[in-house]
Symmetry: D2
Subunit: 213 residues, 4 copies
Amino acid sequence: MTILITGFEPFGGESLNPAHEAVNRLKDKLEYHDVVKRTLPVVFHVALEALDAHIKSVSPDIIICVGQAGGRAGISIERVGINIDDARIPDNQNQAPVDQPINPNGPAAYFSNLPIKAITAAITEAGIPASVSNTAGTYVCNHVLYGLMDLIHQKYPHVKGGFIHVPFLPSQAVKSPNAPSMHLDDIIKALEIAALTSCEIDGDIVESAGTIC
Amino acid sequence: MTILITGFEPFGGESLNPAHEAVNRLKDKLEYHDVVKRTLPVVFHVALEALDAHIKSVSPDIIICVGQAGGRAGISIERVGINIDDARIPDNQNQAPVDQPINPNGPAAYFSNLPIKAITAAITEAGIPASVSNTAGTYVCNHVLYGLMDLIHQKYPHVKGGFIHVPFLPSQAVKSPNAPSMHLDDIIKALEIAALTSCEIDGDIVESAGTIC
Amino acid sequence: MTILITGFEPFGGESLNPAHEAVNRLKDKLEYHDVVKRTLPVVFHVALEALDAHIKSVSPDIIICVGQAGGRAGISIERVGINIDDARIPDNQNQAPVDQPINPNGPAAYFSNLPIKAITAAITEAGIPASVSNTAGTYVCNHVLYGLMDLIHQKYPHVKGGFIHVPFLPSQAVKSPNAPSMHLDDIIKALEIAALTSCEIDGDIVESAGTIC
Amino acid sequence: MTILITGFEPFGGESLNPAHEAVNRLKDKLEYHDVVKRTLPVVFHVALEALDAHIKSVSPDIIICVGQAGGRAGISIERVGINIDDARIPDNQNQAPVDQPINPNGPAAYFSNLPIKAITAAITEAGIPASVSNTAGTYVCNHVLYGLMDLIHQKYPHVKGGFIHVPFLPSQAVKSPNAPSMHLDDIIKALEIAALTSCEIDGDIVESAGTIC
């Protein structure tokens, strides 16, 4: 199988992005699967055009987009992308849409069709904190998750795709030492597990990972 | 106008539910609007049948369902309900669905059509912490939000509806004194503001309330 | 008995101080005890001179100093003041001492001699979140706690005294709606309970309120 | 110089202790300094007898005791130990003292005489989150910090000593994936930096690391 995995440029005043750092260091082969790594701009809509171009040229079976979730302590496997842009800070081209649909003709949301429960279980099993997340926010990360699933739905129906949020690196968290962070090696290991699990599992396991609110 | 506002029974080992306590104490008239108060069972699907029956008998213009969000510090105005039940704890009839759609024929999500930004701004203006939330979880609260919007979409297209999460009461938070809570009077005031704002605002204001992730 | 209870001026960019607001609204009589209320400046050393002058003029049996602990969710009954000033932000006269002893000839710390466990239990019993705290920080609040106990030790050996931290008011927390806060009425009730318990209890109850770290 | 560095046994239901794991993996030589590693029991008073025996046999110039601080995100350099035991959970010999002095004849507290500000700055400089902490709790960690400084004060006046709290390892945090954790390699690196900085710095740097409360 071919796995396309994307990171993001730095944004929000950070000089690096843990998603980019981790994705870039992934091996090109995971067992007998090919791993193709790309970086997306943190720009509404432009990120999706870049993603679509990568899908066209790579023809992946699995797509995992990865973004930074400053403030979260573990790996977040995102369940759902919603059809809204609501930017608290401008993107890297200074756009800050408020309550704009990503696709005015699209549904309100798409669920990831990765095996999110199996991925969460496998990362946890490896000793790395992970959980299913029910919100990818309303910024470029959610935008890319929604847009990815919209592309899959409309143009690439045999592809499985989804989004994973990763914590700050320790070097980013030193500015506010109560902020949680994760070592780059553990982020890389978690992404490898996510990619392999996505190749191996058909459907998903049935295991509660719900939240009360 | 007529406003139907619902609370919930206690659940999860609590002996009271702040949503029920607050809803029950609302006045029957807010300015010249009628306020009709009901309590829903914390039971998947049964809650929605009860809600539909209340809508039929009350014929409201506005519906606000209110639930407890233990651990949150402020009033949460929910933006979106997603088409999934994933119960971390059993409901009050001992059901614990995992990754079941609420409506197998429904869309992945519905957005609330209340003026969520205007409500958030008005509660904040009154000195009570409030924010837009992008996840109502995957338990009975999200179930009711999704189901309410599904009912509105299918049977009551002229109704505006949505969901508001409220913090623990102080008396619930004493068990874990670092858990945030809110005074019952402030919860009541916030719900009154939400109801009035829903009556008064057509559409919504444009004000960023996004989250990065 | 006579209880001297002090609040503080606003500081750190806030336009009010919940300690001042609550102390000011206390009744002048609690049962048959006299309550004398004063406000201290948020200024290293000057606060202690003001406190000593108040003690001289009021001749209290009990002294409770009250300060704002932004970010804490419950009432904090402080256990200990330490002999150090380490200011992260300047005080209201623009002093910002770093690692200076409060009293160069004093011990490293003083324990409060209020019945901190009984106070915590009584506030909790009343349905208001409260806990014993093992650090009052290193700013003017800790300065006043240490200085108060130093005064008691040296000049007023029959007085019982200590320090209570109170959360933000809701109107302060609206700026960051995930910050916990407490209703003014509950802060006032907690301080009344603290004052009465201090009058009534000799020694303290034995009840674990420890923290692992 | 000779550095004695101690970890702790597991406690509180954990099957490992990050302090023990990290201390055990330290090199025996840091530059030209000797590093002697020992593990202390999580038992009030017994831990101090073991510590005193180690000091006698090792004759260190620097002593750094290291403990687990579950829930903290960064390395905590402790400023002060207080003369109180207040156990929320029993120790490993089932003792759970409440409000007992560690040394009935000792002062209320001792400050660490390690260069805590320089250590914090050096660890941060290396890209690892660290901060000065003003409370080591009231359990065995604080007990050992207070007891260590009491020993230094009474018997080993030329020794510099103190306490460092380290976060959960990721494998401990998987149980509650919102709990922060730190990679073992970063904990080890931080302890090496702390040890070397303690050897190299006389006195401490002047840099604010205070907390408001």
